[in-house]
C-alpha cells in the first residue's frame, strides 16, 4: 500500500468539495476583512492590523474545516477510510493537508489586499509571507484535527474556539504589540505560539524583525516546531483503536 496515494485522495476530495461550496470563502475571508478595515481605519493604521486579520482568516478556515471531521467520523466518509488498508498516518496527513491547503488558499486571497495595507514587501517578501501562511495554516489545521478527534459534538468545538482560540489570537500581537503590553500579558504573548506566526508574517511584510520579538527565521522555526509536535500527537491519537473513535 502506497503512502501518498491516500494522502492525495483526501486532499483532492477537500479541493473538489471546496470548489463546490465557494460561499465558504466569503465567510472566512469576509469577516476578518471587515474587522481589518474597521479596526485599522478606526486606529488610522491599516498596516498594523493586517497580519493579525490575515492570521484570523487562516484560523477560522482551518479550524472550521477540520470540524467536518466530527460528522465524518460519526457517519460517513471517515468510516470507509478507517476500514481501508490505507495507513492511518496517511489518512491523517491527507485530511490535514486538505484542510490546510484550503486555509492557505484563503490566506493567500487575503494577502492580495496587501497593497491597500500600505506594505511593499517585494516579490521575496510575498513569497516568504506565502510560506509563513502555509505553516500557520498547517499548524491550525492540526490543532483543529486534534480537537475534533476528541470531540463528539460541534457545540464543544465552538466553545473551544471562543474560550481558547480567540483569546490566543487577542494576545498574539495582532491587536497590540509586545512592547506595548503590560505585566503578565506580555508573558502570555511570549508563550503563545500564535505570536510567532503573527511576528513572522509581520516581519516578512515589513522586511525587518518585529520589535520585542525574535528574528523572522526564529519565529518560523517556532511555528514549524509547534506544528510538528501537534502532528505527531494526531497520528498517535488516530492510531488508537477505541470504542470512542467509532462511536
Amino acid at each position: 500500500m502506497t503512502f501518498w496515494l491516500p494522502v492525495w485522495t483526501l486532499v483532492q476530495r477537500d479541493l473538489i468539495r471546496f470548489w463546490r461550496e465557494k460561499a465558504r470563502v466569503v465567510g472566512y475571508v469576509g469577516s476578518p476583512l471587515i474587522f481589518w478595515v474597521l479596526i485599522g481605519s478606526g486606529f488610522g493604521n491599516l498596516a498594523f492590523f493586517f497580519p493579525g486579520a490575515l492570521v484570523l482568516t487562516v484560523m477560522f478556515s482551518a479550524v472550521f474545516s477540520t470540524m467536518s471531521l466530527i460528522e465524518d467520523r460519526r457517519e460517513g466518509f471517515l468510516l470507509s477510510m478507517l476500514v481501508s488498508p490505507a495507513p492511518r498516518s496517511s489518512v491523517v496527513l491527507g485530511k490535514i493537508l486538505g484542510s490546510a491547503a484550503l486555509a492557505w488558499f484563503q490566506g493567500l486571497l487575503f494577502l492580495c489586499f496587501v497593497p491597500l495595507a500600505g506594505y511593499a514587501p517585494g516579490a521575496a517578501g510575498v513569497l516568504e509571507a506565502a510560506g509563513i501562511i502555509f505553516l500557520t495554516s498547517f499548524a491550525f489545521t492540526v490543532l483543529g484535527f486534534l480537537l475534533a478527534w476528541q470531540m463528539d459534538s460541534t457545540q464543544g468545538f465552538h466553545a473551544v474556539m471562543n474560550l481558547v482560540l480567540l483569546p490566543l489570537w487577542l494576545v498574539s500581537g495582532s491587536l497590540f504589540s509586545m512592547t506595548g503590553a503590560h505585566g503578565w500579558v506580555r508573558w502570555l504573548m511570549r508563550a503563545n505560539p500564535l505570536s510567532y506566526s503573527v511576528a513572522a508574517l509581520r516581519g516578512a511584510l515589513e522586511q525587518k524583525a518585529v520589535a520585542g520579538m525574535p528574528a523572522v527565521s526564529t519565529s518560523v522555526a517556532v511555528t514549524a516546531a509547534f506544528a510538528a509536535v501537534l502532528f505527531l500527537a494526531s497520528v498517535v491519537a488516530a492510531n488508537r483503536k477505541t470504542v470512542r473513535s467509532f462511536a
Binding site: M1, T2, L5, T9, R17, L79, K241
Partner: protein, 304 residues
C-alpha cells in the same frame, strides 16, 4: 470456513454487548445475523469489519485475524455501512475513485474496475450525478459498488434493507444473489427484518449478546412444525390458557396479551377452541411458523 468466530466477548464499559459468540460462515454463502436492535448485531459487525477489537476470543476472515492482521482482512472485505459512508458533495464516480485510491488502485485499472461495478449495479448513467441528488435506494447501490470495487471475497453489510422502500429492497436482493452467483462472493449481513433473514442460506439468531440458535431458515421453521394459532380472548387469558392445556393438551404462551399455540393441525384446533369457549374467543389468526415464531420460541420475547 471463510469466516470463523470463536467465543468473542465484547464489553462497552461493564455492559457485555457480546457474551461469547461463536459461528462459522461457508464460502459463497449468504449468511444473516438476525436479532432485535441492541442485541449485539452491530457490535459483531464492527468487530468483523476491523473497527473494534474483541475483548477476548477470536474472529478470522479468510484465515486472517481481524484484530492482529486487520490490514490483510481489510483488503479482503467489502464493507457496506448502514449509515451513509458516501461523500454527498461528490459525484458517484468521484466517490468510487476516492475509494479505489484508498485501496491502492489507480490509473487504467481503477477506471476499468469503476466502470465494471457501475455497470453491474446499473449506475452507469448516474456516474456524474452528485450523491446528494440520488434516492435512498440508489445511494445504497453506490455504497455496494464502493464495497465491491477492490474485489473483496467477503461482503459485510449492516442492515442493508433498512430505509429502503419495497421496490428498492427487491432490487437490492436481486443484486446480492447475482453477486454470489457470478462473483463467488460470500455475503454476511445483519438484519432485524424477517423478510431479509428468510432470503439467507443460513441465519444466526442473536439475543442479548448470545447466539440463540442457527440454521437454514426453512430448517429452523420446520423445528416448530405444524401451525401457529394466535387467539385474543375476553377476560383473563391465563385462565383460558389453563383450560386449553386441560382440554386440548396444548400449551399456549402469553405474548402481549394474546395466546399463542403451536399445534399440528391448526384448522381443527381453531374449530374446536371456538366451540369450546363460546363468547370468549374474540379473534383467531392462523399462520405457518415464521422466523419471528422461532425467535419467540427460543427467547420468549418478540423480535420487533
Amino acid at each position: 470456513m471463510i469466516v470463523s468466530v470463536e467465543n468473542v466477548i465484547f464489553l462497552y464499559g461493564e455492559r457485555p454487548a457480546l457474551a461469547g459468540v461463536s459461528f462459522e460462515v461457508r464460502e459463497n454463502e449468504i449468511f444473516g445475523v438476525l436479532g432485535p436492535n441492541g442485541g449485539g448485531k452491530s457490535t459483531l459487525f464492527k468487530i468483523l469489519a476491523t473497527m473494534l477489537p474483541p475483548r477476548s476470543g477470536s474472529a478470522r476472515i479468510a484465515g486472517f485475524d481481524v484484530d492482529r492482521q486487520s490490514s490483510e482482512v481489510r483488503r479482503r472485505i467489502g464493507v457496506v455501512f448502514q449509515s451513509q459512508s458516501l461523500d454527498r458533495k461528490l459525484t458517484v464516480a468521484e466517490n468510487l475513485r476516492a475509494q479505489g485510491q484508498l485501496f491502492g488502485l489507480r490509473g487504467h485499472k481503477l477506471t476499468c474496475r469503476g466502470n465494471e461495478v457501475l455497470e453491474r449495479l446499473g449506475l452507469a448513467t448516474r456516474r456524474d450525478d452528485l450523491v446528494d441528488s440520488l434516492s435512498g435506494g440508489l445511494r445504497r447501490r453506490v455504497e455496494i459498488a464502493k464495497g465491491l470495487l477492490h474485489e473483496p471475497s467477503v461482503l459485510l453489510m449492516d442492515e442493508p434493507s433498512t430505509g429502503l422502500d419495497p421496490g428498492a429492497r427487491r432490487e437490492l436482493w436481486a443484486y446480492i444473489e447475482e453477486l454470489r452467483r457470478s462473483q463467488g462472493v460470500t455475503v454476511l449481513l445483519t438484519t432485524h427484518i424477517l423478510d431479509e433473514a428468510d432470503r439467507c442460506d443460513r441465519i444466526l439468531l442473536v439475543h442479548n449478546g448470545k447466539v440463540v440458535t442457527e440454521g437454514a431458515p426453512s430448517e429452523l421453521k420446520a423445528r416448530i412444525g405444524g401451525d401457529v394459532v394466535v387467539l385474543e380472548v375476553a377476560g383473563d387469558p391465563a385462565v383460558v390458557r389453563e383450560e386449553i392445556l386441560r382440554r386440548f393438551g396444548a400449551s399456549a404462551t402469553l405474548v402481549n396479551g394474546s395466546l399463542r399455540v403451536e399445534i399440528g393441525n391448526g384448522h381443527r384446533f381453531i374449530a374446536e377452541v371456538v366451540e369450546a369457549f363460546p363468547g370468549v374467543v374474540q379473534s383467531v389468526a392462523l399462520h405457518k411458523p415464521t422466523l419471528e415464531d422461532v425467535f419467540l420460541d427460543e427467547t420468549g420475547v418478540r423480535l420487533e
